[in-house]
Each structure stands twice: as structure tokens, then as C-alpha cells.
Symmetry: C2
Subunit: 215 residues, 2 copies
Amino acid sequence: MHETASSQPRKESKKELQAEAARERILSAVIDCLDRYGYAETSISRIQEAAGFSRGALTHHFPSKEEMMVVAAERLLRPTLSLRRRKHPAGAASEAVLAVDVEADIVWMWEKLVDTSEGRALLEILVASRTDDVLRQRIATKFARWNNAINETLIENYGQSGMDGQALQEFWTICRVFLRGLNTQSQFDPDDGMRKALVRRFAHAFAAQMSRPRD
Amino acid sequence: MHETASSQPRKESKKELQAEAARERILSAVIDCLDRYGYAETSISRIQEAAGFSRGALTHHFPSKEEMMVVAAERLLRPTLSLRRRKHPAGAASEAVLAVDVEADIVWMWEKLVDTSEGRALLEILVASRTDDVLRQRIATKFARWNNAINETLIENYGQSGMDGQALQEFWTICRVFLRGLNTQSQFDPDDGMRKALVRRFAHAFAAQMSRPRD
DNA sequence: CAATACAAAACGAACGTACGGTTTGTCTAT
DNA sequence: ATAGACAAACCGTACGTTCGTTTTGTATTG
């Protein structure tokens, strides 16, 4: 072993790049299968087929199916998907602006984070981890960190509202829970219309609550 | 087949009673396994073990596992669990009374309908039906009817609020979706405290929105 | 700059296991 | 006696894993 420290991305050997690309392709296949077939029906064969690799290649990159699922979950819980910061014009009509922003952010979360392959795959993993002890233990801290990261970003954006931090955390958690729950009945109205209407209705009521003084 | 019409429960032969009790026991075992092990890990062996029956008994009462699941789903979607009617004192302070009632009903729904074995089993079936076409087709209409029945009961109780029927339906659907979503992360805080706090926070905001005039 | 040596990558067959379904047998109540 | 209620053994299948082989990229020689 030479001293090619991993902190120096200088010399990414071609093989390492290839291996990393393969792992990425496999993880994408896992997420795709979770969305299409659900956690239970996501078999090695299905992943193999979706990724375009052989059975042996999968076991070469991941020692077990469980490991594949955990790494896929880690990818879904990567904090890379953060809301963009908003710059608020300091001063007048702050409440109205705030409400509009909250509504827009919620709709954006629904369309870009939840109502996607990744969002549905995450739902499958979360529901599976409800009854799978080892899976739950392995993703619990990542999930908590992910929730906190989202909350912090949102609180940073909306901290000037009248609510304290605790209440804000709870409100955004409610929002996340609602959007995730909406994915549990997406199969019953193939047209997005109804769900999107619900999102808007929720966002509107939610924003109204947030931009009002606490009682 | 004699002409013992099912509309005449007059002569329930002892054997029929026994068979019905066995079916009920099996269905309870299914729901229990769905809650404990999840949809994927609910196998015939597990159900057999939980119900205290042999493999043969299960296949005697239900032709297939899918049929068992569908009938279990039908049991979970039975309209028997309806909110009790509330009698409102016609007259003063109706808005405040309304808000209190809404909050109480939501907490009641969470504790008695959603945060239960049956509620979690229903979550498992709904998530499974997202990717299982035959299961979805077989429970779709029952699920829709169940949602409508709940909505109608609630609208009957709260019809005097300022909202129109469409908005009320959407609001209660939002409530149901949120409570179901809360079950998808119940495994991460074994203490009910946090979830119950979220329910209360949601119920409070929800009630405030409902007892306010529309904009 | 070849030629060789070695490790990683990809492959596919084989294995044991657990599942759902089926069949056969036994007992009980009518 | 006859049909239903339950039990137990059996069958084919699909799963996840293991393992030996082949291929490909990289490093080390002359």
C-alpha cells in the first residue's frame, strides 16, 4: 500500500472510478426497484436486471442484500437535497411574503422530494424498518440527522416568524409526515390532481398558521 | 344447499358458528402479524403460529394467502368503527365548542383508530397495495368507500362550520393522511410522547383553520 | 516500450432454505 | 354415514448466498 491517501483525490485510478460508478448504478437500480416493486419484491434478480449486472457483480460490491439496502437508504438520506435559501426583503409585508414562501416551499418539497422515485423508495424503507430490527437500527441515526438537517434549514429560513424553535420543528415535522403519508395512497388516484390539491390545501392552512401570532 | 338464507340468522348451526369463529381468529392473527412482522414477513407459518391453527386449517378457510389478505383488509375497512355523533348545544360560543370538538376527535382518531394494531396493519396493506396490482384492485373500492364514510360522518358532525363540503372533505382527508404518515416513523421514537405531541399540535392548528371563515 | 504478475471486476452455476400451495389422512358433529 | 374441521406430510419454486472461473485494468519488470 503506497501512501495514496484518500484525502487526496488526485489520483483516482480508473478502476476505482469504474467501481464507484458500478456501485452508483446498483444503488440507482435498488431505488428504482423499491419504487416499482416495493421492499418485499425487490429481489437480487430484479436489481440485477435493472442495473444490467450479473448476480456475481452485485455480491462483489455489496456483501449482502441488507448492506445494499442500508447503503441505498444512506443515499436517500444524504443531506445534499437541501432547500435553497430564500432572501427575504427586510421590512414591509413580511407576513404575506412569509406565507407565500411557505406555501411555495411545501409544494416544492412535494414535487421535488416526496412525489419522486426517491421519496417513494424512502417510504418503502421506512415502512420496512418498522418491523425489521436490524434495518431500523442501522438507519435510525441517519434518519434522525436527516430530519434535523431539514428542520434546521427551514428554521433558518423562517426563523423570523412568531413561533419558537420547538414549535417550528414540530410544524415542519408535521409537514414532512403529511407529505410522506400522501405517498401511501398515491396508487388510488393515478391522476396527480387530487394529491396536488391536497398539498396546496395543506400548504395554505399551514402557512396561515405559521404567519399568525401564537396563542 | 338448503334454503337457509343468510338473511335469516335463525338457525346458526353449531358448526357454522365454529367456522366463523375460526375465520375470525385467523383474521385477527393476520392483522397481528401485519403489525408485528410487516406485510412481506407475514407468512403462512407465522399466521398459523399466531392463530394456533395448522396449515391445513388456514387453507381450508381461505383458498389462498392473497384471499386472506383481502378479507383482512375488508375487515380493517369495515365501517363499524365510526365516530360517535356529537350533540352540539345550538347557540352561543359555537366556534370555540367546535374547535374543542375537532381537537378531541382528532386525538381520539389517533389513539383509537390509527395508533393501533389495526391502524398499523392497514398501513402495511396500503403500502403493499402500492406495488401489488391485484391487491390494489381488490381493495380500491373498499378503501374509497371507507374514506367517504368517514368523511360523511365527520361532515355531518361539523357541517355547520363555515367551510363547504369539498373543503371539509379535503381537510379530513389531510387529517387521515397525516395520522397514517405518523405511523411510518413510529419505530424511531419508542416513547409515544413525541407523536402524541405532534398529533395535538396538528389538531390544534387544524381546528383553528376549520373554525375560521374562508378567505 | 514490451512482457509479465497481480489484484480487482464481472460472471454464472450450484447450494440450502423457506415460502405458498396441494394432497392425504383423522376426527368430530350432524 | 357423511360432510366439514383440522392436522401433517409433501411438492415445486424462488430466494439469498457461496464459490470457482474468466476477464479487465494496473503495476512491475526486462
